[in-house]
């Protein structure tokens, strides 16, 4: 049985790199993350076992709730505004009128520019003295509405949401790809039945996009939970923790050497993410094919 032996050797050797890397940078960190939350660890050296103290502390921490609330509102805006807008743009582009490719390219640009670079650009857009928004407001005679958008407690978080909510290019492109792969005959038969363009969209296209829309919802929610650099650059949690998120707060706690508390926040982030993803998968019945 030489082939069998050769096959076994191949399986082991081919899997080793992936398994070692996955073990080192996924499994080990996750186990470490959860285990260390039960210990005191506010210096370089780890201290003694403290049970659930970190979790109790987290549930009494006001900033944690602000961060959680921000993550939640981000996820909801992503699900109920961002993705529907992307769907709408994809449906409009799918008519393939003259110039649709140019528009697609423009919509996609923010996704090839790094978040970091765009964050600096947004800081300039929101800048109180020469920023784009205040300049436009002054020009159209609404100078009274000018404010320091990113540092005003009332507008800081909405301003952050504004930096990405209209940049629908990535998901529009993904959904568009799916729309264009829908068999032409479905539309032809609808056309024969006399269905108008809008009716076709609502009765044929949108139901067929359940799977891909669900995937996009999950991608955008997990992407939002991962989002860090923009906030770190634009506000770093200011003003008065208004723009704190779990990822940012966790990073700030590491900088303050509150290691085990940082990891507790990491567990919260992990739980929040998994909860949202699983709900999303259930909601959209992902993984089941339509045709």
């Amino acid at each position: 049985m030489k082939t069998n032996q050769e096959q076994r050797r191949f399986i082991v050797l081919a899997l080793i790199p992936a398994v070692v890397l996955f073990g080192t940078f996924y499994i080990l960190p996750m186990l470490g993350l959860i285990a260390t939350t039960f210990f005191e660890w506010n210096t370089i050296k780890m201290g003694g076992f403290i049970g659930f103290d970190n979790y109790l502390k987290m549930f009494q921490d006001n900033v944690f709730y602000i961060a959680l609330q921000n993550n939640l509102s981000w996820s909801l805006v992503a699900m109920f505004i961002h993705i529907p807008l992307a769907l709408m743009v994809a449906l409009l582009l799918s008519k393939k009128f003259r110039g649709w490719k140019v528009l697609r390219t423009i919509y996609f640009l923010p996704h090839v520019i790094s978040v970091t670079a765009f964050a600096v650009i947004w800081m300039n857009v929101f800048n109180p003295s020469f920023g784009l928004i205040n300049s436009v407001l002054k020009m159209i005679g609404l100078g009274a509405m000018c404010r320091n958008w990113l540092y005003d407690q009332a507008t800081a978080w909405p301003a952050i949401l504004l930096t990405w909510v209209f940049h629908v290019g990535l998901y529009a492109v993904i959904i568009l790809g799916e729309i264009l792969s829908i068999p032409e005959e479905l539309f032809e038969s609808a056309e024969i039945d006399g269905a108008s363009g809008i009716k076709q969209s609502f009765h044929i296209t949108i139901p067929l996009l359940r799977n891909i829309t669900g995937t996009c919802v999950i991608l955008t929610v997990t992407g939002g939970l991962r989002y860090f650099e923009g906030l770190y650059i634009m506000t770093n949690g200011a003003p008065n923790y208004r723009t704190e998120t779990l990822a940012l707060y966790l990073y700030q706690k590491i900088q303050l050497i509150q290691y085990s508390y940082a990891n507790t926040l990491g567990v919260a982030l992990l739980a929040f993410g998994l909860l949202f993803v699983i709900t999303g998968m259930k909601l959209f019945k992902l993984g089941k094919s339509d045709w």
Binding site: P17, P29, L85, I254
Partner: protein, 294 residues
């Protein structure tokens, strides 16, 4: 049946004049929506471009006007102060190493998972599927400690290895579904001809799974190029900063020289924009393919 189609066509023709007004309204609505999104995207970028050739004085006094005189010295100054060339190189090094390594490691794993049943194969699949869902930023501290202990911190190669690992679950799952689409008979034919499994992967699977490999390489490249959190916590030496980290330091470097800041931002974004415009068709098609294949 034929007459029915004909009847419908006739009805349509009759309706046309009545409908043209509502068609016009729908068209107007469509274009205003599409243009709104285009403006939201393009305006800040065009504004950045124009501001990059203005003097700081001009930016402060008339932010919306076109530049009166082109201040190219902003660019000269930005290039001199930021060390942007070095950080560009660093980002290119990390991204290149990582996409190659990630493709190699993931392809082998995906091939084994797609083609062989062995003890633990289902478990491995489950692990990778969960891996996709994990927000890896939550493990920032444990990963930093692991990297420190492996002496991979402060090293571009270390960063590339970490990014490779982070990309493994998604790459393996995408490649696996591409490999499942290749008929098994193709590899069996190669095996009967006496090719080893390694040779089969190299000569048969790589050419046939090429669209999948391109897809994961593009996804991995976008991830590596933009990654910020691990880069900022693992790289302390200024000469090893990746582009994203360098951009973060621009803010402090220019203080009130806004023209030069805008110039530095333009330098940071132009190359990827140009690359995207050249390769946009393959980027766009592979992105939609990758998402579907998951």
């Amino acid at each position: 049946m034929n007459s029915e189609i004909f009847k419908n066509k006739v009805i349509k023709l009759e309706q046309r004049p009545k409908r043209s007004f509502s068609k016009f309204i729908i068209g107007l609505l469509r274009w205003s929506i599409l243009l709104f999104f285009a403006v939201m995207t393009a305006f800040p970028l065009i504004w950045t471009l124009f501001s990059s050739v203005k003097s700081s004085q001009e930016i402060l006094t008339s932010a919306l006007s076109l530049p009166k005189k082109l201040h190219w010295e902003n660019y000269v100054y930005a290039l001199k102060v930021t060390g942007i060339v070095q950080s560009y190189l660093n980002s290119i090094i990390v991204t290149t190493i990582s996409i190659l390594l990630n493709a190699y490691v993931s392809l082998l794993a995906a091939y084994v998972i797609a083609r062989f049943r062995f003890r633990g194969s289902a478990f491995l699949m489950t692990l990778f599927s969960i891996g996709i869902l994990i927000p890896i930023n939550s493990a920032l501290l444990p990963i930093k400690i692991i990297m420190d202990n492996l002496r991979l911190s402060n090293s571009l190669i270390g960063l590339a290895i970490l990014y490779t690992a982070i990309g493994i679950p998604i790459s393996v799952l995408i490649l696996r579904s591409f490999i499942l689409g290749i008929p098994v008979q193709v590899d069996e034919a190669a095996r009967i001809d006496g090719a080893s499994l390694w040779r089969t992967v190299w000569k048969i699977i790589i050419p046939m799974a090429r669209p999948g490999i391109v897809t994961i390489m593009i996804l991995q490249a976008i991830y590596c190029w933009n990654e910020f959190l691990y880069a900022i916590i693992l790289i302390a030496l200024p000469v090893k900063r990746t582009l994203q980290i360098a951009i973060r330091f621009f803010l402090g470097q220019f203080f009130f020289d806004y023209g030069a800041l805008f110039a530095a931002m333009t330098l940071a974004i132009i190359p990827t924009v140009v690359l995207f415009i050249i390769f946009q068709n393959s980027v766009v098609s592979s992105l939609s393919m990758g998402a579907v294949k998951q």
